[in-house]
Symmetry: C2
Subunit: 448 residues, 2 copies
């Protein structure tokens, strides 16, 4: 454990120095271990495992355009993202790993204790055993605090889910190289820095329930009851249509495959590229794989507002190409603004201009984080929580609803409700933020 973060900084710098890795962008043609299916153009691993890049055709009445085709990653197997936690003198500490992933802009970031696909931990690629896996696979050592199947990026993955787990242990296991214990407060501090805590860690941390019992007491301060929020969600699922068909990657329109990459003819959205990786501290020392490289930086932002003395977040019911069940609870804004350059201003995402216009002193969260470095290459999003003033309307369009932080966190427990962007932001908000004491102390703005 670190007595303060400067010790952690020194440790991480040391880990960076000790980690030898090399990531080289390579053409899709001739990518070692991967082949392009002659009939379909799909990118598949020679074992049939890991993941596949294929095409999807989408028709929906819940997006800016009514129908489109695009490449999409299909990964059927459910991995484990597991965080071991331990109370030391009443303070929760988390066991994280400084892990190199090929897509990270800065090589190492903090991953959960275990971050493993089923192939990983079943040794499909003949790697080493996954450290600390015994805390997460049943019969497991330790007490499960949180355990849910959670979705990932709906624009890039088709129905991808990982098992997010938090397991509390009584005894600290022997500490291995590249692992460290951080208190929850230290982690929250690191979450305010760019590109330190990886997406999988953020996703799991969002599942740490706020202290104190949820339920009736928590609903009292909220604008809506839990039953009303569930009804809003059900209503959104029945209001819209989302028809999808997996199609051969070769039949995706407006995307072009070259020996090097697959790109959209406009240059927007993303490219599918290949990378060759060499690494010293991975289960396998050398591998190649396709990756999805976004064309621009995304923005995920919640509008926050004090209502009835409680801080509320404006949640959007969002539909994406790969969404599991029509809509998910998403930040107020969740998009890559550059993708809208070619569309008319009337199709610009609602509240995007607003969240970008809020001055710095009203940004409760403003940080750049990376998306999953095992599939996405240099994928960064700007995460924002902007505090609206009392001029911001409480009445919102039907696709939006106000929830307290505790209410949104409670939905995370059930899986399949809160999307990965919203979970990332929740992890950046201190648990219990938006309660009376904090407002009165002026920590997160105040009512005028």
């Amino acid at each position: 454990m670190f007595s303060d973060l400067s010790e952690f900084d020194a440790w991480l710098a040391d880990r960076r120095a000790a980690t030898a890795y090399d990531v080289t962008v390579a053409g899709l043609d001739g990518l070692d271990g991967w082949r392009t299916e002659p009939e379909t153009g799909d990118l598949v691993h020679r074992t049939g495992g890991f993941f596949t890049v294929t095409g999807i055709q989408v028709e929906t009445d819940h997006r800016e355009v009514a129908s489109w085709t695009q490449p999409i990653i299909v990964q059927r197997e459910v991995g484990i993202l597991g965080l071991a936690v331990r109370r030391v003198g009443g303070v929760l500490h988390c066991l994280l790993q400084a892990k190199m992933e090929p897509g990270n802009v800065n090589g190492l970031q903090l991953s959960p204790t275990v971050q493993a696909t089923r192939s990983n931990y079943r040794r499909v690629h003949r790697g080493h055993a996954v450290p600390y896996l015994e805390y997460f696979l049943a019969p497991r050592r330790g007490r499960v605090v949180f355990d849910a199947l959670q979705s990932e990026q709906g624009s890039w993955f088709l129905g991808k889910r990982n098992r997010n787990m938090v397991v509390e242990v009584d005894e600290a296991p022997p500490l291995r190289d590249n692992f460290c214990w951080l208190s929850l407060d230290q982690l929250r501090e690191l979450l305010r820095r760019d590109n330190v805590v990886n997406m999988d860690s953020r996703s799991v941390l969002a599942g740490l329930a706020p202290p104190g019992p949820a339920g009736a007491a928590e609903d009292a301060a909220a604008l809506h009851t839990r039953a009303q929020l569930l009804s809003w969600f059900t209503e959104a699922k029945t209001r819209y249509r989302l028809e999808r068909r997996v199609i051969p990657l070769a039949r995706v329109r407006d995307w072009t495959r070259s020996p090097e990459e697959i790109r959209h003819d406009s240059g927007e959205f993303f490219r599918i590229i290949g990378v060759d990786v060499q690494a010293g501290f991975r289960e396998v020392a050398r591998w190649s794989q396709p990756m999805l490289a976004p064309a621009s930086r995304g923005v995920s932002a919640f509008v926050a507002r004090w209502i009835r003395g409680a801080l509320h977040l404006l949640v959007h019911a969002q539909t994406e190409a790969g969404t599991g069940d029509l809509v998910e609870m998403s930040p107020t804004v969740n998009c890559a603004p550059a993708n809208y350059r070619l569309l008319g201003g009337d199709r610009r995402p609602r509240f995007l201009d607003y969240v970008l216009s809020v001055p710095r002193e009203r940004r409760m969260v403003d940080v750049i984080h990376s998306e999953e470095g095992g599939r996405f290459y240099h994928a960064e999003n700007r995460y924002l929580v902007v505090l609206a003033d009392d001029d911001f309307p409480v009445d919102v369009p039907e696709d939006f609803v106000w929830m307290t932080i505790d209410q949104l966190t409670a939905f995370v427990q059930y899986g399949n409700h809160v999307n990965v962007s919203a979970r990332s932001i929740l992890s950046c908000l201190a648990a219990g933020a938006g309660r009376h004491e904090e407002r009165d102390a002026g920590l997160v703005g105040e009512r005028r």
Copy 2:
């Protein structure tokens, strides 16, 4: 409202006498409005609407057999099952309809206030307007108490879901023919009688949350916390495999199509038949449709047991051909025993013989109810809750878990957790059954 149930009985008898209907079993060939697709053998409506009977191929490691094909009903559109409730002198009353459905063994049963497919209420078949629909479609009159998408029979439907709603109204709307108000106590009494309250009503009633706040207080008496139950459910979803492919109905193995019907060569499981219907009080006075006719009566049973002074139900994580997400929370036993005649005794469902052997005085629930009379012909199940004594082990196989009634009811609120058989049984158990007072009063058995 009825001062006692004898008044209701007279009213229902009067409704039966006033309802003219005729249901005739007809051959599938030449069924009015329906055709057999020449390429696939699928049964489809000429509009492409309503539902389709097609085939499915299933591979799973979570059933008695590893792979099979079968006919299955596909109905993509989500209907509304809506119950209007109103407090009169603090007592909750429900607005039900005595509704004729062609599959009912006894013609009329009590349906929810609104029981309508999307085609119904959008007038695809040019019927009359659906009464009281304005209480359930947004912007609606009345306050939503419960609103979730719920699955239906996983062995007969592929991923079918209906929107289950309870809406509280302040003013009683004008009462139309065939509708009546029943207090919750009166309904609970009727649920102890065979074939009075239909499946859709039972499904919606299961969503009426038990009185009092759920959460920490409720977990205190329970063997497992909510977090542990969610982890058990997540574990089951990741432990098993369920691969499905929709196939042409003509390619289903071991099933034979004749001009009259489709049946399994063993005579077990179910038949697909046709019916011609004439009715006086339906949206359409005359129609024909395919129906699924089970070959035998099913058994759905919970084992109940006192643990730590609280009544617990033994929940099974069950996989069926049409299950939406690998497993659902199901009664301890949920099957048609006759279907197992041809399999070895080692593949007989666990606890089936036990629940059938429990003597009458330990059956908390023992009643015959009908399944959805709009799709299933003379489909009856026996619903049981049997009280195990203290010899029954608290340690159960990994596919099973003990929950209190309140815990299981809480999962109903979220949709996609509790299957239709379990919801039916929950509706038959009085809210709050299994609390200390009741045990002490000897109402539901007691600890020896």
